[in-house]
Assembly symmetry: C3
Homo-oligomer: 210 residues x 3
Amino acid sequence: MHEQFNLIIEILGTISFAMSGSFAAMQKRLDPFGVLIIAFVTSVGGGTVRDLLLDVPVFWMTDMMTCSLIFFTCLFSMIFKSIEKNFKVTLFIFDSFGLGLFTIIGIQKGLTAGLHPLICLTLGTITGCFGGIIRDILLNRIPLIFRKEIYATACIVGGGIFLLMSKFTGLSYTLVQIFTIILIVTIRTLAVKYHWRIPKFYGYENNDEM
Amino acid sequence: MHEQFNLIIEILGTISFAMSGSFAAMQKRLDPFGVLIIAFVTSVGGGTVRDLLLDVPVFWMTDMMTCSLIFFTCLFSMIFKSIEKNFKVTLFIFDSFGLGLFTIIGIQKGLTAGLHPLICLTLGTITGCFGGIIRDILLNRIPLIFRKEIYATACIVGGGIFLLMSKFTGLSYTLVQIFTIILIVTIRTLAVKYHWRIPKFYGYENNDEM
Amino acid sequence: MHEQFNLIIEILGTISFAMSGSFAAMQKRLDPFGVLIIAFVTSVGGGTVRDLLLDVPVFWMTDMMTCSLIFFTCLFSMIFKSIEKNFKVTLFIFDSFGLGLFTIIGIQKGLTAGLHPLICLTLGTITGCFGGIIRDILLNRIPLIFRKEIYATACIVGGGIFLLMSKFTGLSYTLVQIFTIILIVTIRTLAVKYHWRIPKFYGYENNDEM
């Protein structure tokens, strides 16, 4: 049952990020093949880097599920987009859910490989954030992760709580997963809604060189 | 004989992309070492990502042929550039040939690894397109692949036809290779010459955030 | 004793690049978690790509030293920054030392794997330069490596001299290492101080397309 729940998480995360990538690409007016490539990269980017780092077979190479999911999600997004123009909120929710889902998957893969919890947290952050970073670089946008929103922070805080809860509480693993995913989505949603900012305790400088 | 033909394809593709990288870097006024690095990255980028994904030894690490080819191509480009100023058409042809040649190599490596044809097509697209994407990101250009030209599309369509022809026709493998490479180059050339665009069946939006 | 010296080089290089990444990120006004991520990527980026290419376990995954070093360096940078505003020279020195130290480590890892000296030089260049390139791409800066300064050149020249000296002179390995690292830092410092430029022997063009 635990395996099945993980599969559901992976499917939902793949769909979420494929949608987020498709919409970002369509907003940049790419042609359908460009949209497909961006959807693919956004969806598998983080997990691919994670699997390369762990030196395990890259997850989307051996079964067709991920690729098919991305293809049909992308197709659906393009068709849906022509009907519905204002899709901001839904898009934001998909991106947040993708972040939460993939962070947890990344941490679990690290734990399975027997790595130190902090390395697992790093892997979770990479899995959750990297797809979106590559998407933004390819679309020539300043990676939003580093600027406006509490993005990586939601990921790191949520992942840390997941590690603590799964180690020190007697709660079922699946319950901890669900709780953490909801937590990450909630943190990010509240952060955007109420314009939360993390305080910077270092001064500013305007010069940009180094 | 089949092995020899594959080697010729790889040599021509390496030279093509090294030229394309050198010229793009010279147009951005990089110093000679910068030009060499961009030529190198453009030429080996796609194949390196493919080999990392397949978890096979990275092709340019074990023999000196690729590195030597890139070095001398780069040197030749720099010398030639000082004589001949207008090199646009030749550069375009080199880039197109590189695309066609590397797509086929990528698909073949995937087939050799026993992967699903659609995964092989993805690998072919990565091998063909990734070097140019990295080149454009490093040179701070919007990756052309996602905007103006039928680039990835030529790659995906050509690769798809390669897979179908090598499976369902009785033609010799080498013949199918030559045909597909010419097809990819032709599609791209005609697309640029006659300003082909793939129709977008989704609406536009001007807001850029997500 | 040789092992211990290598460990010292690695620690100093990690700290140098973590500082360089932290300061670059703070100048772009990222929040503390963003600063940490940039410091991490700058510090481990080059070595990670090197280890993936060599297909050896990624160095920061198995022990906690690197991650701890980066965390505390980043914390120290943020605290220090609030006190001292003008830190340019120190930052420049850190970046140069990181470059020298990591280039040598990269070459050594290649030699250990039994690769051709020129491939080792390539690996050294990747180890030294790649972290800074990723940092600049993520921060949406034009990678400085390709423009203003004699950066990759210092790396390639210094690495080449390291290979020649360790092969053809009877000097102790540690001595050659120290000499080369100082050489790379000196080349870069003099280049920036006296505005050295590598002559371009190819003409200019202003058109940016390809």
